[in-house]
């Protein structure tokens, strides 16, 4: 991973020197282990702070809507697809961007690491990566963990690890996975209505309506979100189970045909709700009904912004 960091710094330095961009959006090392944060920079002196490892899960496309300047942005596969969607939605133009593409090997899930380590009652002070191993260090222990067991759920089933658009790559393209993305969705589809209702009621029960999932998403850029509307108030603002579920249904529906399954919503959720169980269903339907995958093709119209006269309509009387 260190090669990526080096390469990012090298590219950014050059871009700033040649004044190709006004600013750069990348990552810098977090103050706690496994939490790198987005880094906005303009000056060459800041270049050494740029950083990359497997804890850069935040989708940086989230900082692009309605920008006026020209920026370089570090983008993994999912981030690059999000950029494609944002361009289609006129939130930014391609000329405003210099995309530093990251061929991605999957981001890691800090919660899984904590689960493994904390059950043994130990705090983590440092986490490093070496040859497919994650080395977790604490006060009086050091533990080697198999990287593949600790991928974020969305990364384990990601089909587009390589950026779909970029100006420059930081390394060789990585092999893409061939995998069934919808196993869990099909399992739910095969349940009875009662069981499904039960499943989703339980899933959303711990939600505290903090909207971190919404804020982390690059596509939740509406100046006024439906959750803030008050006259009429379509969605109740309380944590009553009906209100909470309504919020989740509408949030997910607003992402139909747009969500790139970057997983930012899930990693942002303070109570660990698997909100992708909603968005992924819509993603599956959009693919099956309209043969569309979000952000894979620059210039393609979003599926709910277009139609074909022969679209399926068996459900209409």
């Amino acid at each position: 991973m260190f090669e990526y960091t080096e390469k990012i710094r090298e590219i950014v330095k050059r871009l700033l020197q040649d004044r190709v961009v006004d600013g750069v959006i990348g990552f810098r090392k977090g103050t706690v282990p496994m939490m790198n944060h987005p880094f906005f920079m303009k000056h060459i002196e800041q270049v050494p702070q740029l950083y990359w490892d497997s804890w850069c899960g935040v989708n940086l496309a989230n900082y692009l809507p309605k920008r006026q300047d020209k920026v370089a942005v570090v983008a993994k596969g999912c981030d690059s697809r999000s950029i494609v969607v944002l361009i289609a939605e006129n939130q930014i133009t391609r000329d405003q961007l210099y995309i530093i593409g990251i061929p991605c090997k999957g981001m890691l899930d800090r919660r899984k690491i904590y689960d493994t380590v904390r059950t043994r009652g130990r705090d983590i002070t440092d986490v490093m990566e070496r040859d497919g191993l994650i080395v977790v260090t604490g006060k009086d222990f050091s533990l080697g963990l198999d990287r593949n067991q600790y991928l974020q759920e969305n990364c384990a089933i990601c089909l587009h690890r390589n950026p779909v658009i970029y100006d420059e790559l930081v390394g060789e393209m990585v092999p893409e996975q061939e995998i069934d993305r919808y196993e869990d969705i099909r399992a739910i589809e095969s349940m009875s209505s009662e069981k499904r209702w039960e499943y989703f009621s339980k899933l959303t029960e711990p939600c505290i309506r903090c909207y971190a999932c919404r804020n982390a998403c690059p596509f939740c850029y509406c100046p006024q979100c439906f959750v803030d509307e008050s006259k009429p108030q379509w969605v109740g603002k309380t944590i009553d189970p009906t209100d909470t579920l309504t919020f989740h249904l509408l949030r997910a529906f607003h992402l139909a045909g747009r969500c790139t399954d970057c997983g930012s919503c899930e990693r942002a959720c303070p109570v660990g709700i698997r909100v992708r169980m909603f968005t992924k269903k819509l993603e599956k339907d959009v693919k099956e009904l309209y043969g569309y995958e979000a952000g894979v093709q620059l210039g393609e119209r979003p599926p709910l912004d277009t139609y074909r006269p022969e679209d399926p309509q068996d459900f209409i009387k």
Partner: protein
């Protein structure tokens, strides 16, 4: 308690299905009294929020009806609506709302008999699954 009767919200396009409802009435066609009609300018105007709001407020069923493909007063509103509804219907079923509660149809302003027939079908389907159970916002008693 009197026998339960389903309450159904019908969102009807002004240019076709609403006209069909009108014509069905004028023609004295027999129709179930369970439908509460809300007139909308186009099926494309129907926001998923309206459907969720109906269910949240206790409607036992929701029915959206617009112009046949190709006949939209605004040329293509119903084509966009069709995609939106296809996804929404499946999505609501996915989280547990029974398929019998949410209905869509294309009915032109001349199809009064179709209107009466579909109205029967919708009411029968909703009757079969009984009073709304899911997504109804229950009022909380405050002492």
């Amino acid at each position: 308690m009197a026998q339960w009767e389903p309450k159904i919200i019908a969102l009807l396009c002004n240019w076709c299905s609403y006209g069909a409802a009108d014509l069905a009435g004028v023609s004295r066609l027999k129709q179930p009294p369970n439908i509460r009609i809300i007139r909308v300018p186009c099926s494309g105007r129907v926001n998923p929020k309206f459907i969720l709001a109906s269910l949240r407020k206790g409607a036992d069923g929701v029915w959206v009806s617009g112009c046949h493909p190709g006949d939209c007063h605004y040329i293509e509103g119903n084509y966009y609506a069709r995609r939106k509804f296809a996804l929404l219907k499946d999505f609501l079923e996915y989280v547990g709302i029974e398929p019998e509660r949410v209905h869509f149809s294309w009915i032109s302003s001349a199809e009064a008999t179709k209107f009466a027939k579909v109205a029967e079908e919708v009411v029968d389907a909703v009757r079969k699954v009984g009073p709304a159970r899911y997504l109804v916002k229950r009022e909380v008693e405050v002492e």
